[in-house]
Amino acid sequence: MLVNLISGDTPRSAVLTVLLLIVLVCLAGAPFLFPGVRSLETAATICIFILLVASYDLLLGYTGIVSFAHTMFFGLGAYGVALASIHIGRGWGALIVGSLSGAVAAAALALIIGLFSLRVRAIFFAMITLAVASAVAVLVSQLFNITGGEDGLTYLIPRELTPAFRMGELFGVRVNGRVLNYYLIFVACLALFLLLLRIVNSPFGRVLQAIRENDFRAEAIGYRVVWYRTAATCLSAAIAALAGALYAIWLRYVGPDTTLSFEIMLDILLMVVIGGMGTMYGAVLGAVIFVLAQNYLQNLMGVAAEATEALPILPLFLDPNRWLLWLGLLFILSVYFFPTGIVGRLRSGR
């Protein structure tokens, strides 16, 4: 039953199993284990990024396609929810319509990009996605009467999902709509992650891996490689859009910086590489480590800087403003020591 749920794709490493269980328990109990607005914010971001990174891994790690348009699909889902909530009006219907139309639009756009460019060399696809993603980002900031431009959009979501909706206390924690909203996101992300895990372990997933390994031979045993690559691109885009929709439901705001920026695209790439490409579980560890570092490294450094105040030079390096320096260092070290990512390293033993 449990093995079936994870599609027979067991972690294959004791340490990895323990780490994944810790993450699962922490996320499942986040509102009660780590009460507080900020920690809940971090937990929701982790859930959404796990899904987003996993959907990117389907493309990069499993199929061997490099795309720079993943945040564009993420953004399509987010703007879908925002626009639906504004034009249909506050309600559950708007959330569903917005999420689904975002996902459909993302898949359709991916289909067009895929059919045009996946026939040719893989590098061509990467360039096209970069161009389209940049064009969409410019379009979103220019069409301000629709998208709110650089300011983005704010909108109302169902009251049951907002802090104003009170439900009493549980384990000494005040349960409100925000907690309900968190669980909506947690359950949706978990379900979609399990779906992705199933897809990569399905006959379809095996073909994707075969294409990654040797597309020439995959074609020679009768697989129409272009169709498979295009299908993987569409699926990955649709799931990224759903992750974006969930992010929009959580933030109650969308803007170019939170969903479309190229910085997020780089973050996704880093998370996949740190966690381990082509493993799915790598997305979990990559996203957890990265989002935690993004949110708490500055605090940690603040503490360290104070502690070393008396020493020369050192506090300068530990200044909270230098956090990106340390994140970069962390990344270089992880790629150097774990070229197959954390999961690859754990699975290879020792």
Partner: protein, 254 residues
């Protein structure tokens, strides 16, 4: 006379000014094993590439079971019954031996777009894949990564991939190249078995004359891309044109 499964009609390819395969017309019948011989650079592998679709023809036609497939992609030709093993081993290196063969059987069963079932749950595919591995004596290596296999075992797997495909036309491109003396017979026995059991047609590019003598029903000789001789093995080997034109010494050695 049995049915023609594969036919090339004036098949030609030019690379710039160089004619690599020059108007080769040839029909291959069911139940027949044809050896394709010729010196290095005679265009044997290029002829194979034209038939299986890796290279587009400059002129001429390829017909598979009467149907013109000249403009079809590699995958389409394969789905219509054309199978090929490669001269340089061409596998999925990071996947297991079993997974390599399973992928072929899965392609044959048209299960590739099945997204929601578990690949390992398709017992009929696994069973069929294991049966093929049994035949090439690789079943004890089923869980090894292909990249960890010895060269000889990779060659065997290459042959296994083609057998798993169960095509109407088998194309072997030097299947025993680089194999040790003890390993080669496994592959050659398999090809003999295939020939004996099936109503398929087998094309075999091979340099070893003893292999050709025991296996082939027919030999075609390519020379500078053109068809130089075509006939029964004894006849072709004895013919003056072949002896003198290019095979001379190689044949005297046998």
């Amino acid at each position: 006379m049995s049915q023609t499964l594969l036919e090339t009609d004036g098949l030609t390819v030019r690379f710039g000014g160089h004619v690599a395969v020059d108007a080769v017309s040839c029909a291959f019948r069911a139940g027949e094993l044809t050896a394709i011989v010729g010196p290095n650079g005679a265009g044997k592998t290029t002829y194979f590439n034209l038939i299986s679709g890796q290279i587009a023809a400059s002129a001429g036609r390829v017909r598979l079971m009467g149907e013109d497939v000249t403009r079809l992609s590699v995958a389409e030709r394969c789905r219509r019954g054309l199978g090929r093993a490669f001269q340089l081993t061409n596998l999925f290196p990071d996947l297991s031996v079993l997974e390599n063969v399973r992928l072929v059987i899965q392609a044959r069963h048209r299960k590739g777009f099945n997204l929601l079932s578990m690949a390992s749950g398709h017992a009929e595919i696994t069973t069929a894949a294991m049966a093929v591995l049994e035949r090439v004596r690789l079943s004890d290596r089923r869980d090894h990564k292909v990249s960890e296999l010895s060269h000889g075992n990779q060659r065997k797997l290459e042959v296994a991939m083609l057998i798993a495909l169960d095509p109407m036309v088998y194309m072997f491109d030097e299947p025993t190249a680089g194999m040790s003396v003890d390993e080669a017979p496994v592959v050659l026995d398999l090809i003999a078995e295939l020939k004996h059991d099936s109503d398929r047609t087998i094309l075999l590019v091979e340099h070893k004359m003893d292999v050709i003598r025991t296996l082939a029903d027919r030999i075609i000789v390519l020379h500078n891309g053109a068809l130089a001789a075509d006939g029964a093995p004894a006849e072709v080997m004895a013919s003056d044109v072949v002896q003198e034109a290019y095979m001379g010494k190689a044949l005297e050695d046998v």
